[in-house]
């Protein structure tokens, strides 16, 4: 008599996440979406101030190569009471550097539930979904949800030099005033400005893509999988999370440096990841 072949159980599908706090609230972000974690102190010299009345959550811009990163205050983005941020997350494949209060821990999630449809406002652009970690429900942020295409357009436009006041067919251009205006705009530039069409950001995902996850590159390919329990609300993740290089240090640690990665600037980098995808938007 032959015994039936043992049924092989499906491997548990997981995704590595970083739990972080903003103004006392706990959030999660896929570790694959975080390119670097830096202390805010290291931004002090590199960041330029920017003041756009309509987008108060962005007060600084960091030039990185030929691209600019907008520093988004997490508390203001989520409408939370202000709190002093200690860290900044450079989010992969976006133009966002996110100010957060601190990191709670790194952990693994095995199940991501789509945000219930009862949530029907801006939060649908903020979160990929929700997960339960140690009997606590944590929203998983969508990295590209911090700045809408409209906001990026406004920010990019604010960085562009003033256009000369010329009109087609006009013979009365005031060259002197145009030159002055261009010179005045110079300190704002720092790099060739570019508009929304050139920006390397993803459109807000639809609900379906939110369920499938928004992690980019290899991560996305590895983790686009069928659902765990057949529920339309639940997604799961295939394979193991990509190896995370680097190390976490406390914000006040001076000699913190990641391993195995080449961060933009070694000073003050608390955590960085090897480029496991084709994130060409941030050449290092």
């Amino acid at each position: 008599m032959r015994l039936p072949a043992p049924v092989k159980s499906q491997p548990v599908r997981t995704e590595q996440i970083i739990l972080f706090r903003v103004s006392g609230h706990l959030f999660a972000v896929s570790s694959a979406s975080v390119q670097e974690v830096r202390s805010v102190d290291t931004l002090a010299g590199a960041a330029k101030e920017i003041a756009l009345a309509g987008i108060r959550k962005v007060r600084h811009i960091v030039q990185r190569g030929e691209h600019s990163l907008y520093v988004v205050n997490g508390a203001m983005h989520f409408g939370l009471p202000p709190s002093p941020p200690a860290l900044v997350f450079v989010l992969r494949r976006t133009r966002t550097a996110l100010l957060v209060d601190g990191i709670e821990k790194m952990t693994t999630m095995t199940r991501l539930q789509a945000l219930p449809q009862a949530f029907c406002n801006e939060e649908r652009d903020w979160y990929r979904g929700v997960t339960a970690i140690d009997q606590t429900v944590v929203p998983v942020i969508k990295p590209e949800g911090f700045l809408t295409p409209d906001e990026l357009f406004l920010l990019d436009t604010s960085l562009q030099p003033a256009e000369p006041a010329t009109e087609i067919g006009s013979d009365f251009t005031n060259e002197a005033s145009t030159e002055t205006a261009s010179q005045d705009a110079q300190p704002l530039l720092g790099a060739a400005p570019y508009g929304v069409k050139d920006a390397d950001f993803a459109q807000p995902a639809t609900d379906d893509s939110a369920i499938a996850g928004t992690a980019p590159g290899i991560f996305e390919e590895l983790f686009r999988t069928p659902e765990l329990d057949g529920s339309a609300n639940t997604s799961s993740f295939a394979g193991a999370a990509p190896a995370v290089s680097g190390s976490f240090r406390s914000p006040d640690s001076n000699n913190s440096i990641s391993t195995g990665a080449t961060p933009y600037s070694s000073r003050g980098v608390l955590f960085a990841q090897l480029d496991s995808d084709d994130s060409a938007s941030f050449p290092q």
């Binding site: 609230h25 989520f78 219930p116 449809q117 009862a118 949530f119 939060e123």
Partner: protein, 158 residues
């Protein structure tokens, strides 16, 4: 001519001094209050979420809309099924008292009734609203049908 009636089972729920009814087929279970997890969002009807049987269920306080004030105390969460265009999800409704399963005939709502009223039923001398959860709880706004540009141009030329 008497209005058309349906004989169905309903769950009566209590919000402060008032009672409302929900079709029993829309009810999943009645559970004791558990920890509400709150995170930032802009849907004002939603208080937060609870964990129930491995699911993350939004808590929707419908009292403000039905009786004009939020509930200060709650005894149970009535977990109901909310239908969306392509799926059904659970939503937890805080209630202040015991719930009761009854059988009654529902008089369908008229055009004069509010959207969240699915109908009316009579029970122990009270006239009770039957709730339409799809209209009472928040959800995605259905896209408005758009008129083709060609039609607008043709109308403009007339």
């Amino acid at each position: 001519m008497s209005p058309q009636t349906d004989s169905e089972s309903f769950v009566l729920l209590r919000l402060a001094e008032r009672r409302f009814a929900v079709a029993a087929g829309d009810i999943a279970e009645l559970v004791a209050p558990s920890r509400i997890f709150r995170f930032p969002h802009h849907t004002k009807e939603i208080e937060g979420v609870i964990l129930r049987r491995g699911r993350i269920v939004p808590v929707c306080d419908v009292a403000a809309r039905l009786i004009g004030k939020s509930l200060l105390s709650r005894r149970f969460y009535l977990i109901a099924q909310r239908r969306y265009a392509s799926s059904t999800e659970w939503v937890a409704l805080p209630v202040t008292g015991d719930c009761e399963l009854i059988f009654a005939e529902m008089i369908p709502a008229s055009e004069a009734d509010l959207p969240h009223v699915a109908g009316w039923l009579s029970h122990n001398g009270d006239v009770i609203e039957v709730l339409n959860l799809n209209a009472l709880t928040p959800g995605p706004i259905a896209a408005q049908p758009t008129v083709p540009v060609e039609v607008l141009h043709q109308e403009a030329l007339r």
